[in-house]
Symmetry: C2
Subunit: 155 residues, 2 copies
């Protein structure tokens, strides 16, 4: 087998090495699994703060899904210890639920502010932030925060 039979070894390849590549995808898949939880918890916190309660119908309406979908998800959230439920009654965030909500909310806010700071319209920023926030590592979040602060300082 001549050297040309195999992919270029290192230099000129546009592909990173397989295990690194794999790590990125694994991480991304993991994030995908946690995003829904974060979305729910964040939304529940907002609804409670805003209207005193978080009803399934409201959650369903804002998420754009059917009520039973929400019900099923809430069971999972309860099982995972993020919320407390009483049959036919409201939903309450547990301490770790509140903690996660606060974290998500802050991250969400930073991402959205950042997008605005680089000149994105508020409508687009809102939509993109919803998708992006879950894939932002602590390091990137820090950078976003710095950038927003600087931009405000200059204006």
């Amino acid at each position: 087998m001549s050297p040309d039979d195999k992919p270029h070894s290192d230099s000129e390849s546009l592909l990173v090495d397989p295990s690194t590549h794999m790590e990125s995808f694994r991480r991304t898949r993991h994030n995908r699994r946690t995003e829904l939880v974060e979305d729910y918890v964040e939304l529940i916190a907002d609804l409670i703060e805003d209207g005193g309660e978080a009803r399934q119908v409201d959650i369903a309406l804002r998420l754009g899904v059917a009520q039973p979908t929400v019900a099923k998800m809430l069971k999972r959230l309860a099982a995972d210890g993020y919320i407390q439920q009483r049959r036919y009654r409201g939903i309450f965030l547990t301490d770790i639920g509140k903690q996660l909500a606060e974290q998500s909310r802050e991250r969400h806010h930073i991402v959205e502010s950042f997008l605005c700071a680089i000149g994105i319209s508020i409508e687009t920023a809102r939509i993109d932030a919803e998708g992006i926030e879950h894939h932002v590592s602590p390091e990137t979040l820090e950078a976003f925060k710095r950038f927003v602060t600087q931009t405000i300082a200059f204006s």
Copy 2:
């Protein structure tokens, strides 16, 4: 019922109106469905360019999934017209497959460059870009591109 029983009407609420909110989530859910396709097509293009062929085992290795998972996904890609398959033979991108790959690759590259430009380490940029790229709207992508260009111009 006093005015306080209902959520604040407009001004002081931290929640956007429900239908806007819903749109964001719907969009995000839609993106999630297309990300996998983009990841595959982009990876296939890279593998072909890099080594002349895209084998299931290599795709599986880089994606961090099992080979049958890849096989199943490839059927979907073929059904959707992105690739052509010949049993026990290689995979080829169709024209629209190539087009999608090119688009994804460019977007991916812009996002990664952008993250680097704001000071993220290359390792983190790689991982975050993998997750973020699928949630970047055309408007945001434009802004990223502008930013990268400017940054390079100043250096």
